[in-house]
Point group: C2
Chain length 338, copies 2
DNA sequence: AAGTCTTTCCAAAACGTTTCGGATCAACTA
DNA sequence: TAGTTGATCCGAAACGTTTTGGAAAGACTT
């Protein structure tokens, strides 16, 4: 391995000078710098990050803590798109991304802070974590800079990026109402997700603004999964057979809901209109294709990386970023005859 | 930050002893080890990886070089599933995964070896790279252990994992033949992909084994993309209107091919049968759902991580792993009337 | 009694880099 | 002329760990 020392020897200067030359300090003669750079290139030098970060206390790496990177979640490849965005921005800002693979049992052994220290990351991006995860508390109290996705947490070293879930849900439900629906159900995720809370608010707001009374029994949880959505739909339709439309908190659940409708020998959208949330790739290909609320997944990863680096480098920026959503109209919603 | 020194002071021993105690050496009294561990826990110690790898020359991290992690590739989330497998296995083996975000222009500046040295990874997994990528040559000649996905390269420090593409393609085309088809086209990826070469061989083998003459003009490239598949299909059908079935080297291209058929006012599978490759999630949801060849994506990532660590730790294992494929029969193939 | 093992411990060097506090020398200032 | 400034360079310490080559002390062997 070629070290700074080898360059020093070759260029007949001290290691200090080599270091300062390579790092762009201005107390080194341009001639010497040129010479040093020439030797560095010639010898194929590349700095040893371990040594560098040992003294500088910075690693130039961001940790990514995915709580649920499993095969199961691959169908909605939201995580992947977010990851792409993060990776791209991190790369542009000259940071590396390291993946933390934590499992619940590992979490018990190692504290969040220990995990980060051990992996030696400057900061962390966390996504897919539940509101009742024991890590959350540790995160806010820790001094390690951290950006959360879809969890609104404040703190000097904590930021978050999320979508405008209230408005997104509001727009979706409003769209159903404008199409003549009034007996509208909702399949939500679970109580320990902030997005569920927000989207429920969007749902109730929309109903209220149209003078439709809110009936809590019309809202069921589907745990964000296809199977959960299917099962919730069965229950919803048996409890409220008069339902003409359903708003789902995720596309995967909406897909499950469609299956349930089909399973009952009824049709989407002729008998039941369905709107999803996320705009995952699948939704454009199913039949009927799914009307849904688009989330900017790539962008949220991109922004998360940017925000974390801003935090790390002490820039004074807003700690929370809320991205727009848009309604994507497809085939799963039908206008009710008057 | 709590260091080994703090523990030494607290436990009234030398740093050497702390290090050896914590690392499980047997020349330290069990009593002392207990005491040291107690202090370590109590002080919340976690080892500094930078310091450790500075002396040990190991970083316990694997690099992942994805040549095409872009928004575009998110639809076929193959990369993501592979990544999940790698991440899982790497985690189990106590390695971290760091993502390299290389762009073509970055590649020009920094050599493969420099990249790896700089990021300080013990080894690298590479996927999505083309056969004509300038990096490839560097990779084999470099002494950095490396595992390639879908590129058969040999070397003391090089391994690869891939699917049995010949057999997969063979089975698919044979399936078409068994369903009465004989005028079978193929939409391949591009010439600089090993899988394309392999799958073409499977195609020709199947034809040959059934006494059907191979006509090169029936094979077109669709560059592995949906749009490319669509365009190739248009060309194929205009050149060979008698075609009754098409085997595609990827599901995405198959989806494009289906669109082309529909665009011509014809139907799948009634007028044209289509088989894809990969078994991406989408294929189960389209209409018609797509008959395809399943690839074990998660498994290939898992095996790649395992193989790389085996290489790193000097285990004597086979350097190439070939995974099975299976035909997944769905709705896009129709039996021709005799 | 002298030598030989064990067991348990430690001092110091090494890894490759950055940084602090000067040192040197020529040129300029008063 | 003496002092000051500016440009350019360097020695040595520091970062936190592992590892090498013993040392000390007690037990056992002859």
């Amino acid at each position: 391995m070629v070290t700074i020392k080898d360059i020093a020897k070759a260029a007949q200067v001290s290691v200090t000078t080599v270091s300062r030359a390579l790092n762009g300090y201005d107390d080194v003669n341009e001639e010497t710098r040129k010479k040093i750079k020439r030797f560095a290139d010639q010898l194929g030098y590349s700095p040893n990050m371990a040594a560098r970060s040992l003294v500088s206390k910075k690693t130039k790496t961001l940790g990514l803590l995915l709580s649920n990177v499993t095969r199961a979640s691959s169908k909605d490849n939201i995580a992947f798109e977010v990851l792409c965005g993060m990776n791209d921005r991190a790369g542009e800002l000259d940071y590396d991304l390291v993946l933390f693979s934590t499992t619940p049992q590992k979490q018990k052994i190692k504290s969040y802070k220990n995990l980060c220290q051990e992996r030696g990351v400057d900061g962390v991006i966390i996504m897919g974590i539940r509101l009742d995860d024991p890590y959350l508390e540790e995160i806010v109290s820790s001094d390690i800079p951290c950006v959360l996705i879809d969890i609104p947490l404040q703190g000097p070293n904590v930021g978050y990026v999320t979508s405008d879930n209230i408005k997104g849900a509001y727009t979706a439900v409003k769209h159903l109402i404008e199409n003549g629906h009034s007996r509208i159900g909702m399949i939500n995720g679970h109580a320990q997700a902030d997005v569920s809370i927000q989207r429920l608010k969007g749902y109730t707001d929309a109903l209220e603004s149209s003078g439709i009374p809110f009936d809590p029994t019309r809202v069921l949880d589907g745990s964000f999964s296809e199977a959960g959505g299917k099962e919730a739909m069965y229950r919803l339709l048996s409890m409220h057979p008069e339902t003409t439309a359903v708003f789902c908190s995720s596309d995967l659940m909406a897909l499950g809901a469609v299956q349930a409708v089909k399973g009952l020998g009824r049709r989407v959208p002729d008998d039941i209109s369905i709107i999803g949330f996320d705009n995952i790739d699948l939704t454009a290909y199913t039949s009927p294709s799914l009307t849904t609320v688009n989330q900017h997944k790539y962008e949220s990863g991109y922004q998360a990386a940017q925000l974390l680096v801003d935090l790390l480098e002490g820039r004074n920026v807003s700690h929370h970023i809320v991205l727009n959503t848009e309604l994507v109209k497809r085939e799963s919603v039908k206008r009710l005859p008057l």
